[in-house]
């Protein structure tokens, strides 16, 4: 038996996105393999979040292609080019993609458990009883099983974000997109979310993480992608990217981050500890 190389879960080719006349992404190509953890770093406005939103098709892309497990996302190939796909077919292609948001985006009028089970109940037509069992299982994975009957507003930010992760997990996705999952959190709450994400990574879940947490990227990522001005400037394993950056822009970005990190070096929980990562696991 020959082992064929695994097909990438996400395949991006020459992706561009413009907002009016402003170019947000220009010529992005990237593959994400099964079980891989890819961290996307870069300055604000570099297009990281836009790229992630294009992968989830929350943003229509302007040209190029995004494929999820070999299927073109958002558009249909026709003789006259790409045509916008129906919502139903977009959902079908996107079914195995989960997403965790910077501002959690939990539904405040539902209990934690209902937040987690609504998706599976409606889209997989799972009976409520079984969905609740699976939902509790997903909550257990993020350590919040005992919070099932609370409302989101009764939880801390870190707990709310873990519910956001459980909500994505409950759909049993093949890949989870994280859009700056710790940026809206108080510093002391960042750790619990990163620990949860590390756990997922070691469970073999494919993850694409847009983050400012360099420690997390250094420690957990298989590959780090550095973006600037809507382009991928450099990508590679974290060791080479952080220790031997090739492009001046990445060097500058890391220098800025390090000097800021120095200022706060006594406060390890805030910024992590450079290449060693700020993990206490």
């Amino acid at each position: 038996m020959t082992t064929k190389p695994l097909e990438p879960i996400i395949k991006i080719r020459d992706l561009t996105k413009t907002f009016g006349t402003v170019s947000a992404l220009s010529g992005i190509s990237l593959d994400v393999d099964p079980s891989e953890v890819v961290c996307i770093i870069g300055p604000s406005g570099s297009g990281k979040s836009t790229l992630l939103r294009c992968i989830g098709f929350l943003e229509e892309y302007t040209s190029g292609e995004v494929q999820i497990e070999g299927r073109l996302l958002g558009y249909r190939r026709t003789a006259s080019g790409l045509v916008r796909e129906s919502e139903k077919n977009i959902d079908a292609v996107r079914r195995n993609v989960g997403m965790v948001f910077q501002h959690f985006n939990l539904w405040p009028h539902m209990t934690v458990l209902d937040n987690v089970t609504l998706g599976p109940r409606l889209t997989k037509r799972i009976p409520t009883g079984r969905a609740r069992g699976q939902g509790r299982h997903a909550l257990a994975k993020v350590g919040l099983e005992s919070f099932a009957d609370r409302y989101p507003s009764q939880l801390s930010g870190g707990q709310q974000q873990r519910v956001g992760i459980a909500r994505a997990l409950a759909m049993e996705p093949h890949v989870i997109l994280f859009d700056e999952p710790t940026s809206a959190l108080d510093p002391q709450l960042v750790g619990e979310v990163l620990d949860t994400m590390k756990q997922l990574a070691s469970d073999g879940i494919t993850m694409v993480v847009v983050t400012h947490e360099m420690g997390f990227a250094a420690q957990v990522a298989d590959r780090v992608v550095f973006m600037d001005h809507g382009q991928i400037v450099e990508k590679g394993p974290p060791v080479s990217l952080f220790n031997a950056p090739e492009s001046p822009r990445l060097r500058e970005f890391l220098d800025t981050w390090r000097s800021r990190n120095m200022l706060f070096q006594n406060d390890a929980s805030v910024t992590g500890e450079g290449e060693e990562g700020g993990a206490r696991s």
């Binding site: 989830g56 929350l58 919502e87 139903k88 959902d91 996107r94 079914r95 993609v97 989960g98 997403m99 948001f101 501002h103 985006n105 939990l106 539904w107 405040p108 009028h109 539902m110 609504l118 998706g119 599976p120 409606l122 889209t123 409302y151 507003s153 956001g164 909500r167 994505a168 409950a170 759909m171």
Partner: protein, 205 residues
């Protein structure tokens, strides 16, 4: 007599408000629709019904229905006119509520595969209602007061009954004061119900 009229007032305006809620939600989704034709049509409907006096709407409906072969009782014409009117106003109230819901919540629903109508049902509408209860109570009070206009098409609600009693007793002052007190009592009861509902629904957040 007056109490019977008050009952009719509550029946006519209450029916209009309740029928107006689902229709108002539909119109709200129409106004905010991404389909340009749907949103244009919805906006035109809204401008027409918000831009003309209720009395004019009422008389047009009352005289129009027989012309198209529908001989309905005055009370039905009154309910139809008030419903079509409140739909336009409720849609605007619901739109305000809709805009207050962070769009990220809709994106989160899309990312777990929830389709548009299921999302509206489970995520959007329950939150709209708890946001707009005060405005909805205002709209109900306004419809209740405006329902006095349906007396002109011979619906024997509170106003019409008062007029009839005045015509036989020649005591306008006492009768109309009594009618006003009844209107106030009903509206007071309404805002009380509204405040209770608001408190109960706020429990979750």
């Amino acid at each position: 007599m007056l109490m019977w009229g008050a009952g009719m007032t509550v029946l006519v305006s209450g029916t209009a408000i309740i029928l107006g809620m689902p229709l108002g939600l539909m119109l709200c989704f129409g106004v905010t629709s991404s389909n340009p034709w749907v949103s244009r049509f919805s906006r035109i409907y809204q401008s027409v019904w918000r831009g003309t006096p209720i009395l004019v709407q009422l008389l047009i409906i009352y005289y129009l229905l027989p012309l198209i072969g529908l001989n309905v009782a005055p009370i039905l014409a009154a309910i139809i006119a008030l419903t079509l009117n409140t739909v336009a106003f409720q849609a605007e109230i619901f739109r305000g509520g809709l805009l207050a819901i962070p769009p990220g919540q809709m994106e989160a629903a899309r990312m777990v595969g929830i389709r548009k109508w299921a999302m509206r049902y489970h995520v959007v509408v329950p939150q709209i209602f708890r946001l707009v209860i005060p405005s909805l109570v205002n709209e109900t009070i306004s419809i209740l007061k405006n329902s006095s206009l349906v007396s002109v098409i011979a619906v024997t609600e509170l106003m019409r009954v008062s007029q009839q009693i005045v015509a036989t007793t020649y005591r306008p002052f006492e009768i109309y004061i009594t009618a006003a007190v009844i209107y106030i009592l009903v509206n007071f009861l309404l805002s009380l119900i509204g405040r209770t509902a608001e408190k109960r629904l706020a429990g979750g957040t």
